[in-house]
Amino acid sequence: MYGFLHFLSLSLVLPQLVIGYDGQYYDQSSFRDETGWTDEADNSSASIMDPCQAHLIYFAESASNFTNCLVMNSRPFRLCEGCVIPYKKATEIYQTLFDKKGDNCHDKLLRSDRIQALTLVNNNMKDVWTNADCESCFESIDEDKVTGNVNFTLTKDTVLFRKYYNTFRQCLNATPGANIPLLSPGINKTNDSACIVCKQNYSSLNAHYETIVSETFQRVCMDVIDMMNYSRLTWGNELQCSHRHGDLGPVLGITFVMCMLPAIFYISNRIFGAAQEKSIVTQKRLKMPVKDYGSRQEQNVSSNSSSS
């Protein structure tokens, strides 16, 4: 409970959020308590605040923190690492509230109307989190019940991946001419030196990504996917470093041979293959059947065919 109060002491209004593209952590210290409460919650003193109301305020604040963080971290996508703290806090508050079944506060806040705003917001947050497969970035996420601090550890793979990624970026930055800002449209430079110098870095990054993909059964944390996607785009699209070519001669040759096979097969079968002979069974009839229906000439025809 102390954690929530602690959180409450933070301001709802967030001044200049500075978040580097490189996934800097959402830092609590960057929010200064500069403006006070202008809300009605401010009027009632904290000591006698209605616990229900307090819950509501905590949740409102933490949810808006998360939303803010989500939007700010959306491009480049660093949701998982960037917003793990507000996410954990917000969902914990909801969970605490949710667990208090029987408490009239639970009923009042969670089940009193059709919209159920709190549940809606919470589900939204959870959806975003699971859609981004964020869980697979982390080894563990815990919230200290007493201090309200959130501790998390990244998986080894993620840490390693970030390391590769940073080396790759540094390499690009260090190589002259390769320093192209991400998402800048219309730039298509071919820079051979960057391609050669950083190829090793790029390959190890790529290879490590592939292992992560296979280890997590396709459920790779979205941060990692995004880093990889944009590295690939930079590498392939902007720097034009990926040279993928075919070799026309052998492919056409094989194709030609393959296409000749059926022709040879069918023609030779037609020439050398013996057509199957079919003998017509003489049917036992009171009246000879086929001769019944046709015209005069047919008799000769059918006798010809049966003799052949």
């Binding site: 040279h243 070799d247 194709t255 096979l261 037609r270 199957q276 069974v281 009246k287 229906y293 005069r296």
Partner: protein, 795 residues
């Protein structure tokens, strides 16, 4: 009708008469009747009003006819006998029946149905799992080499690797089929259809066929051929049903001594229809579709209790599949995985009224493409029947097709570099090929999967996942590949290839609409892919109700029921204008004497005397052993009328009739009697007769020893057999002036094998069997209807 035309017709009438002068006494009535209906002429092209332009035209069309295999019936096919032989032994057995026995038999039926369902489901799982594993290994290898080689200038390595993999795997499949069991080739649906129609297709429900079919289909699909595994699965279900219900395996010589009372054609047919339904249920996750499939294909013998049992078999097959699939996928007992091909749920399924004309147009396209498909396949099949007959040749052909399939795939990926950005993590790593990093090649994405995954992708990938060139090329290539593949000596289903082709051009249509009407929400390419798939499938196989239900069930979406039905209906009508469905086509090419739903139109004035076989081989009630043996050795007939007042030497009387009719005796009964030596002169004849049971005749079912294996001493040849206790005393007979439709209905509805034709004085004058009826054949071409008679050939 012009006068000249009438004159010529009258000539034709007169032509008939002189041929028949010796048999005047049956002829008079007949000729009169035909006179009355002279507006119907059986010559080739004139039911409407066209007078044949000249006799020469008729002749030239006739000349080519005996050449074409579909105009021949094959002599090797026999009928199944669904008629119970009610002889005195059978009646004795029936009399001894207790309530317990009847109840036990009833319970056994349900138990067997359950067993059929479960085993079919398990086989389906096995096939699915093996295909998944094999093709997974193959594609992984090729993909790995592609990724390695695309930067190192060695792309011919994965190309050759792919070709070799395909040809190698398919070689095994073709060997299983060509050398193991040729009956396992193809989809199996035509064969099962024939079986349910009442034709004994040799070896179609043997365990060996099942093994070859299962292994063969795994190789064929994993080898990358344009085939599906659904048809073979239906066949497998039918084989399992035929095997399980008999409680023994003749091949392995094991008899479990259970279910002896199911060892007749009648009971076996019921179970086989259940097995086929279970196969459909397992293949498409469509239990209702399975029941309707059995209903549609074998509907002449049906009742409500049987339907319910078949539904039970279907359901238990789906259920088994679900359980096993849930274990394979790692979420035990989560039973929402019905069917091996699950087309995936269409979540956002909307269509408006104004789209129905669009669906109809798509149905027309499907019908036209289907007719083209069937026509090409028809010509190819005729070629194959004539020239590709040696087994090694068939294996080689299958390998060539497999290699060409790989070539087509590789070439289309190579030259059509359709790159799409990687959007989400799909199940398998997409192939990048020449695309920049961060993109994948969408043409590789179609070709690098098993057909089923491709279907799912085509149905459900977002708009814009495929380029127009990719889809167009894919449709074209796959159309010809599928057409070429069907009829090879490998087990091959036709559903999936058709669905794929249809889905590809349907998606193209969706993209086209999206281009014409941007910003409209109804232009969902996935929806049009589904409709296109239905249209194509309907145009090729021409099935109706069961196909609709299968599609509805496989997509788990009832709201598309109406569009799918409309599309299938239109496709069938359009296709039927040009040729028949591919299954029927293959049935006719094989010369199977299949009986349609209805007797041929315009056949009402054909009487029993024309239909029947005339000199009849009969036995007397007390018959000489030597004569029985020589007749059985000489003739291939299966049923013989038993008569009195007959003298085999009197050749004059035999021009007309063959004695007073008493009943029918079957070949297998005679052989059993000879084997048990039930001869009048035998000293212990009374003891033998007392100990004889109806089961003595059932024990050798369904493979009776040929007459050559029965050893009879010369002295025994002079003895006699009293056939009276064993013959069927009240078989179905018709009178000599019964019409063909009447006999046809009798055959079709009761599943008969023989009908004896008798005259007013109860004298046998002829026999009618299935081939006698099936040779009257109606042809519909381009709106013309004509009837002709097929000839019977040895092949």
């Amino acid at each position: 009708m012009t006068d000249g035309c009438k004159q010529r017709m009258a000539d034709t009438e007169d032509e008939r008469k002189p041929l028949l002068t010796q048999k005047n006494y049956v002829e008079t009535t007949l000729t009169n009747r035909r006179r009355n209906t002279s507006s119907v002429n059986f010559a080739d092209n004139d039911i409407e009003s066209d007078c044949p332009s000249s006799p020469d035209v008729t002749r030239s069309s006739e000349e080519t006819e005996p050449e074409s295999p579909e105009k021949l019936l094959s002599a090797k096919f026999e009928s199944l006998d669904y008629d119970v032989c009610e002889n005195s032994l059978y009646l004795k057995e029936e009399k001894k029946k207790t309530t317990q026995e009847i109840i036990r038999k009833e319970i056994a039926r349900w138990f067997v149905s359950l067993l059929i369902g479960v085993l079919t489901g398990l086989i389906a799982c096995f096939i699915d799992y093996m295909i998944d594993k094999c093709s997974g290994v193959k594609y992984d290898y090729v993909r790995e080499y592609v990724n390695k080689c695309v930067e190192n200038f060695c792309l011919y390595t994965p190309f050759l690797l792919w070709v070799t993999f395909n040809a190698g795997i398919v070689m095994f499949g073709a060997i299983f089929t060509a050398y193991g069991e040729p009956m396992a080739a193809g989809s199996g649906i035509p064969q099962i259809k024939c079986y349910l129609n009442g034709i004994k297709i040799p070896r179609v429900v043997r365990i060996k066929t099942l093994i070859c079919k299962v292994l063969g289909v795994i190789c064929a699909v994993a080898g990358g051929l344009a085939v599906g595994k659904e048809g073979p699965m239906i066949h497998s279900g039918a084989v399992i049903a035929a095997g399980v219900s008999q409680g023994r395996s003749t091949t392995f010589g094991i008899d479990f001594k259970v279910f002896e009372y199911f060892r007749t054609d009648k009971e076996k047919r019921d179970f086989v229809s259940g097995g086929a339904a279970a196969g459909v249920a397992a293949a498409f996750g469509a239990p209702v579709g399975g029941v309707l499939f059995s209903l549609e294909e074998g509907a002449s013998f049906w009742n409500q209790g049987l339907t319910w049992r078949i539904f039970f078999a279907s359901m238990s097959s789906t259920f088994t599949l679900n359980v096993v699939q849930s274990y394979i996928k790692g979420n035990e007992w989560e039973l929402s995985n019905p069917g091996l091909i699950n087309f995936g749920k269409f979540t956002d399924s909307k269509y408006s009224g104004f789209e129905i004309p669009i669906f109809i147009v798509m149905g027309v396209i499907g019908g036209l493409l289907g007719a083209l498909f069937n026509q090409i396949n028809y010509m190819l099949t005729i070629y194959r029947m004539r020239y590709v007959r040696q087994r090694w040749n068939q294996v080689f052909e299958a390998m060539i097709v497999a290699a060409l399939t790989a070539t087509a795939g590789f070439v289309s990926i190579y030259f059509n570099n359709d790159c799409e950005p990687m959007k989400e993590s799909s199940e398998e790593a997409p192939v990048q090929f020449f695309c920049d990093d961060g993109q994948y090649s969408s043409s590789a994405n179609i070709f690098f999967h098993t057909p089923e995954t491709s279907v799912k992708n085509l149905f459900h990938d977002q708009a814009g996942s495929y380029d127009i060139h990719t889809l167009g090329f894919y449709t074209l290539v796959y159309f010809f590949l599928a057409c070429w593949t069907y009829g090879l000596s490998v087990p091959s289903g036709l559903f999936i290839p058709c669905i794929l082709i249809g889905a590809a051009w349907g998606r193209l249509a969706g993209i086209f609409f999206d281009y014409c009407f941007p910003d409209q929400d109804w232009t969902d390419p996935g929806k049009y892919a589904l409709i296109g798939a239905a249209a194509m499938l309907g145009g090729v196989v021409r099935m109706t109700i069961s196909l609709t239900v299968i599609m509805v069930e496989a997509t788990g979406n009832v709201s598309y029921g109406l569009p799918i039905m409309i599309v299938l209906m239109v496709a069938k009508w359009v296709g039927d204008f040009f040729n028949e469905g591919i299954y029927d086509m293959h049935v006719h090419l094989q010369g199977v004497p299949i009986l349609g739903w209805e007797p041929p139109a315009m056949s009402a004035n054909i009487s029993a005397t024309e239909v029947m076989s005339h000199p009849v081989v009969v036995f007397r009630t007390k018959e000489n052993v030597g004569r029985i043996i020589s007749v059985l050795k000489k003739e291939t007939h299966h049923g013989f009328p038993v008569v009195e007042d007959y003298d085999p030497e009197d050749s004059f009387r035999q021009q007309f009739s063959f004695g007073t009719f008493h009943g029918i005796i079957l070949r297998e009964q005679l052989i059993t009697l000879l084997k048990l030596k039930v001869f009048e002169e035998n000293p212990n004849i009374h003891e033998i007769l007392r100990n004889m049971k109806a089961s003595d005749f059932r024990d050798t079912y369904p493979r009776f020893p040929p007459i050559q294996q029965i050893s009879i001493t010369p002295s025994e040849r002079k003895m006699t057999i009293d056939l009276k206790p064993f013959l069927n005393q009240a078989p179905f007979t018709v009178s000599d002036n019964a019409s063909l439709p009447r006999i046809f209905h009798l055959f079709r509805a009761l599943g008969l094998r023989h009908v004896v034709v008798i005259d007013k004085k109860h004298q046998v004058i002829g026999m009618v069997t299935r081939k006698d009826l099936a040779r009257y054949k109606i042809w519909r071409h381009h709106g013309q209807i004509s009837m002709e008679e097929l000839q019977i050939s040895h092949s």
